[in-house]
């Protein structure tokens, strides 16, 4: 009983943490989306190459900025994680699928920056970090439940 109770508590905390992380990703993606539409250069203070990445042909899919798609994905992830934090198991399962897909897309985007474009964008890397954090939180929750 105690183990079960502990398991429930940690799983509830992980979705809450995932919601916070998704919110951070959402803010980052929204920032890039607005910058895309205002056509302003994005400041690149930590590393070089933001402009190369954000003005590349990979920055849009069918005319829709990748950042906007990311913002939509993070908002969905946030909503699912929050529902899960309040006890909705199905939402957490959906979150798991989504976070895995997001991590795969993120891996592809990092590959594009490293191997094709040859430059990195710090805001894209922040998004990558949040995306990987989401899938890690989900996997940890699965591991905890198995115990």
């Amino acid at each position: 009983m105690i183990r079960e109770a502990l398991g429930q508590q940690s799983v509830a905390k992980l979705p809450a943490a995932a919601a916070v992380v998704a919110l951070a990703g959402l803010v980052d993606a929204m920032y890039l989306t607005v910058k895309h539409y205002t056509e302003e250069p994005v400041p690149c203070s930590i590393i070089e190459g933001c402009e190369m990445v954000l003005t590349s042909s990979y920055a849009e899919i069918a005319g829709v900025p990748l950042a906007a798609l990311g913002a939509a994905a993070y908002f969905t992830a946030f909503s699912l994680a929050l529902l899960a934090a309040f006890g909705n198991r199905f939402a957490w399962t959906l979150f798991g699928f989504q976070s895995i897909i997001m991590a795969l897309v993120t891996a592809w985007l990092i590959y594009l920056q490293a191997a094709v474009i040859g430059a990195f964008c710090q805001f894209c890397l922040i998004s990558a970090a949040t995306s990987f954090a989401l899938v890690i939180l989900y996997l940890v929750s699965r591991f905890t439940r198995l115990k």
Binding site: E51, F86, R89
Partner: protein
């Protein structure tokens, strides 16, 4: 993870609140970022004119003579490094035209080719050569071709027969097509692009568009009409202040013969 019907409205309320805050925040950020026209007065009040960036002390001269508009004797030099496949450069193109027409001979505007060496910009170098080839026929044709390539950027960038489109643009602006094509293959136009590239590298240009005003790089957030105008106005004022006593002493000011006041001198 127990189902608690009573609390189901709480997450929904949070989700809706976050959605409203995010959309509202994005709208506010968009309005406050979309610079120029709306906040020009507020921006003009800011007195931090290009304070932080320091002028670069030495760099190759770039193509000579440079692609220049305005007056060679102007006290303020605006130098833009751009790539013809860069969307932000196409976006800022209208701003730079506006700046040129606003200040006319009060500034010296120099355009530098800076095609980025990235796969996504695989036609950028060739585009820069095409524009320089146009300029070899007539300096005014350089600007006409530059305008064509920026204005129609999406069109030719996505077209596998982009060279055909360039020929059409060349025809439209009245170039001799045979000469245009032979100049594109010749060394002179490429040499000008390479020299601009060397200058850009010397000035540590790492992205496009990069704009220098009297040798000082304009910060990213200031690449908009209002901020550029504010910086130029401040430069004109400070130069006028400096020149008054110098003029009395018979000093003729900057020597623009090399065609570029910012080259290594600021």
């Amino acid at each position: 993870m127990k189902n608690e019907p009573k609390s189901s409205s709480i997450p929904l309320a949070i989700i809706v609140t976050v959605l409203i805050v995010v959309i509202g925040g994005a709208y506010w950020f968009y309005n406050s970022s979309k610079p120029a026209s709306r906040n020009s007065n507020r921006a003009a009040n800011a007195s931090n004119t290009a304070k932080t960036p320091q002028p670069v002390t030495s760099a190759p001269l770039g193509a000579q003579p440079p692609n220049m508009l305005g007056s060679a004797n102007a006290a303020v030099t605006v130098e833009e490094f751009a790539d013809f496949q860069c969307a932000a450069c196409a976006a800022i193109h209208q701003t730079m035209k506006e700046i040129q027409s606003t200040y006319g001979p009060r500034i010296r505007f120099i355009f530098r080719n800076y095609p980025l060496s990235i796969p996504a910009h695989n036609k950028a170098y060739e585009a820069a050569v095409a524009v320089e080839a146009a300029g070899l026929q007539d300096r005014n044709k350089f600007w006409a071709m530059q305008d064509q390539l920026f204005t129609n950027q999406k069109l030719w960038t996505e077209n596998p027969n982009y060279r055909q489109l360039w020929n059409e643009y060349a025809q439209k602006i009245g170039l001799d097509i045979d000469r245009f094509q032979s100049d594109m293959g010749a060394a002179a136009a490429k040499d000008r692009v390479d020299r601009d590239l060397q200058r850009g590298r010397g000035l540590n240009v790492d992205s496009t568009p990069t704009i220098f005003i009297n040798g000082r790089p304009v910060q990213f957030q200031d690449v908009n009409t209002a901020s550029i105008r504010r910086i130029i106005d401040a430069e004109i004022q400070s130069t006028a202040g400096r020149n008054q006593p110098q003029a009395a002493a018979g000093n003729s000011g900057n020597a623009p013969a090399a065609g570029n006041a910012t080259e290594g001198s600021k």
